[in-house]
Symmetry: C2
Subunit: 404 residues, 2 copies
């Protein structure tokens, strides 16, 4: 089987022209935007050219399906509002080139997917969550983006393309290539990451309510300042988590909303996001306990009313051992000592697909570890290395899942 690296790179660059930001190699292709739909139609044409049967499902996931039992390869082609050119598009175009080369060579059968709204305009990995059954289409239709647009309204923009859901039973397994979005491969000068598992996530909003008051006439000792409670909580939490976490554990306060948010008013209320991730479900639960206890202690000490939103989460997922082994052996063959096994700290569509079939992931390095910006990039030599590893692994990947 003969893959064509130049054709693969040309497709990546042609694709990034759709919704190009004009800044660096950046792309603006949020899920269901005109640019996202145009990119999906362009990908559909390439899939047809490759002899695949093209389908769009009700969530807007794009499928290029090979005959018979096939290995599914892909990722997503939607981007963050300020996105990079590779991110998930890399995995989709890798799947396209692999399927194309396999068709030309007469097998093994490779199908391609570009999942919709992986970046979570509406949910978390929305398109693959719907396909895998963890999110119902009816429930998804009620979700809204930050501008208040409903998922039902957004996906209607693709109604002229949409058909039925695709039967997962026709796929022997799923392999997703993606950029690492972290620093480890780039720092080590390595080209390939074979993912061992995808971390789990917990996410909720925490509210402290104190007393709104005049910032001139309220003495410090009489204040019940919600921002001061947040700061005390953050300081205590960083200290108390030390005995619980590992170097792979992360926790983030990324959103803070103070009420009323005026220079001259002691803030009476704060709502903030509390998100944490780890590869071990038990540790996620221990972190949750520390977070809830610390918030309660700070609320008691500072005279705040405390409340928590519903907690959302995804469990850690281990990658399929056989598929992992196939990728590792190919990596060692193509890039000896320039690859590693590693955990994924980011969520991916593979988390959902793993509920349906054996799933595995491979990472390409992110220069300086940055992603979700216009400046995200990967050396083309590493992109080609990843494609070659995938091609070398294909026979074993197809056999592992019992594909043709």
């Amino acid at each position: 089987m003969q893959i064509d690296g130049a054709r693969f790179l040309k497709d990546l660059h042609d694709l990034r022209a759709i919704g190009a930001s004009g800044i660096a190699k950046g792309v603006v292709r949020p899920a269901y935007s005109a640019a996202d739909i145009a990119a999906r139609e362009w990908l559909a044409d390439r899939m047809r050219d490759a002899g695949l049967d093209v389908r769009f499902d009700p969530a807007g996931n794009l499928w290029g399906i090979a005959k018979g039992k096939s290995l599914l390869v892909g990722s997503h082609s939607d981007t963050q509002p300020e996105g990079g050119w590779l991110d998930g598009a890399l995995g989709v175009v890798m799947g396209l080139e692999l399927a194309r080369a396999a068709q030309e060579a007469g097998g093994p059968a490779v199908s391609v997917v570009s999942f919709q709204d992986e970046e979570g305009r509406f949910g978390v990995t929305t398109g693959s969550a719907i396909w895998s059954g963890s999110l119902s289409l009816d429930h998804a239709d009620t979700l809204t983006d930050s501008a208040g647009t409903s998922f039902a309204t957004a996906r209607a923009a693709m109604s002229h393309l949409i058909g039925d859901f695709v039967d997962p039973a026709q796929f022997s397994g799923f392999v997703e290539c993606h950029i690492e979005q972290g620093p480890w491969l780039d720092e080590a000068g390595q080209s390939i990451g074979v993912v061992t598992d995808i971390v789990g996530i917990r996410d909720m909003r925490v509210t402290f309510e104190g007393e709104q008051n005049h910032a001139g006439t309220t003495p410090m000792h009489r204040r019940r300042d919600a921002f001061q409670a947040l700061s005390a909580f953050n300081t205590a939490l960083n200290d108390r988590l030390r005995n619980v976490v590992t170097p792979q554990s992360v926790w983030t306060i990324g959103h803070v909303s103070l009420h009323p948010g005026a220079h001259s008013i002691v803030p009476g209320k704060v709502v903030f996001s509390m998100q944490w991730r780890d590869g071990d479900t038990a540790r996620l639960t221990r972190m949750e306990t520390v977070i809830r206890e610390t918030a309660a202690d700070v609320a008691d000490a500072t005279g705040m009313r405390l409340s928590f939103s519903e907690m959302l989460g995804l469990e850690p997922v281990a990658m399929d051992a056989q598929l992992r082994k196939a990728l590792a052996q190919a990596a060692q063959q193509i890039a000896p000592d320039r690859w590693r096994e590693m955990q994924s700290g980011a969520l991916h569509d593979a988390t959902n697909v793993a509920a349906l079939m054996p799933a595995a992931m491979m990472f390409a390095p992110s220069i300086n570890g940055i992603s979700h910006t216009f400046y995200e990039d990967t050396h083309e030599a590493d992109l080609l290395c990843g494609l070659n590893v995938l091609a070398a692994a294909l026979p074993a990947l197809a056999k592992a899942g019992g594909g043709s």
Copy 2:
């Protein structure tokens, strides 16, 4: 001279019906709103009934002017978006009753003012700042409120009422009555506060810029999280200020804006408000030094870029000694041992007027120390006590400034 307490209380209750919130005794009369303008027209009618010459100046300040040299008494009748019924309206209606009683008694001459936008929809004590010359009308016209409306557009809603500015030389002095907006009088069971001085204020925005990154793939030790920098700054500042401040000093972080403000993104930037107040200019400066040095130290320690906005401020202002003495003697006569001398932690129009003429202030108690909410209130016995003190002080107040 015979004041009429029932007439005074009826006017206060009639006034609060204009823009009544329907919640407790709350009022919604933001500067230049229809309710604010209606309230000013209602007050203008009462001033005419009292035999005063009614004028509106270009800023929308309302004047009821007695013949000859007169003592100016008043405050403001605009409110916060969620305001109380007394706040500044108390001082305006007290001035109205005092002027009315003085007219009936044939002197001393009392004029009345309701300044515009004391609550700072556009600036800080905007109407009195323009009249006192600390803010030019041209500059004020360029200011916008939080909805983006310009001051020029807002004051145009009063154009049918507006005439020239009023000559300050005709006033012998200014006395402003206002609710305390703090807990001290209420806690001590006292009825009257005679203000010694109004604190100064410093206000600026501080920006920390770190690195925006993925909240799943960026290890804790590699993050440059702007929220963490803010939290570290707040903790260090509270500690370092202890050796500088007095129990009267206050400092507040009331507004925090995280960028991009997403659950799954390590915040790369925070802009927050830093405001502090004290009665001593030198201490305000020492606090500024601690604030700037602490921010610089935290920026160094956490790898942030640090920047400060222009710093705005008003200097502390001492109340006129003769006017203060007149109020204190009347307070001791009317409410022996139920009054105190005290500092004002809130800004007031008197801060601006003091640049033009002798100025003094008197406070009524705030039940539970609350203000700028619908639930702000004062016992009517205390309102009447304040009016009686002002009436008893009037001869000395008029003489102090050389009024007729």
